[in-house]
Amino acid sequence: MARRLLFGAAGIVLTLALTLTLVEIGLRVYSRVTPNVDVEFYRYATLMKGAASGSALGFRHAPDTQARLFGVDVAINSRGFRDAEIPAEKRPGETRVALLGDSVTFGWGVPYGDRFSEILERDWSRDDAPLELVNTGHGNWNTAQELAALSELLSDDPLDGILQFWYINDAEPTPEHRDAPWYARLHIAIVVWALSDLLQRRFGNKEGFEDYYRGLYDEGAAGYAGFRSALERTGEVARSRGLPWVFVILPEFHGFPGPFQDVYAAVAADAERAGATVVDVTRAFADEDPATTWVAHNDVHPNAKGHALIARAVADAVDPSLFTRGA
């Protein structure tokens, strides 16, 4: 009797272990065929990010790192930016503008060269008057962290302006970076986490993106005061350094025009009060099928087409001579 029970238990344990192993293998094979956005975000965080202790940055890219993320080659330069190595000294006639933003500006899922930063550089540069956009875009950064990038990482740069791209989650509180637990290396763990989150948002009581994003801008929301304060401080930095500051409102990419017009208007008012010249590019997407602008069916980051739309809208609204001052 005892022997049979023991055999039964051993059978169950062995079946379970084998099943989990085979599922892990199956998911890894699937990820090679169709990159899984949650697995790729985890890889981005573990391969390229680290804590920035004692800094308002919270976390930042590890310099000189490379990885293939979501099917795209990503290279981080010696300063921790996904950009070319930009010399400390400007070239003759060069205009240099700091580009602030989050994963959209970083160009998640978009090859270098197809991002709006490179498109604008090509559009705005002349042979005798090159324009350099220093793309500091960083996944999961908020407006406060972008301010820290401007104040800490670009404090000595010979800048001629600031071009900041706002996305609706930029009012989140600064998250605390933590090292990944051991089990997070398993694709099973990431997938189970992601599916659990999805099901809770679809069928449970966890907020979907509409309520979540809107809640970020409620008076009293955890990150909203910090967001407004960061805008004011960015304005102060811009004024103290004599830098024109352009603040670009990006659309939330799930749908166009989307339900956040009032949030865009409120943020535009906050940015204008802080001293920015506000450019709203949300209307550039009004006639587009949202799914044609996403990097994947389950990831609404803008793809190359989305980046081209953003670049064209900014180029139509901003005269680059705004940034030229005796360069």
């Binding site: 998911l27 965080a45 948002r201 979907g208 990831d299």
Partner: protein, 40 residues
């Protein structure tokens, strides 16, 4: 031997079913989810 073979077959069947389920659910993903910081 029969015990091991049976265990392996059951595990394989379960694994295939689970992977197919996960792949199927993946195609219904993203819509309600905001961007999230996975290590926080």
């Amino acid at each position: 031997m029969a015990f091991l073979r049976r265990t392996l077959l059951i595990a394989l069947a379960l694994a295939v079913a689970l992977v197919l389920l996960i792949v199927a659910l993946d195609f219904f993903g993203a819509q309600p989810q905001p961007f999230q910081y996975i290590l926080h």
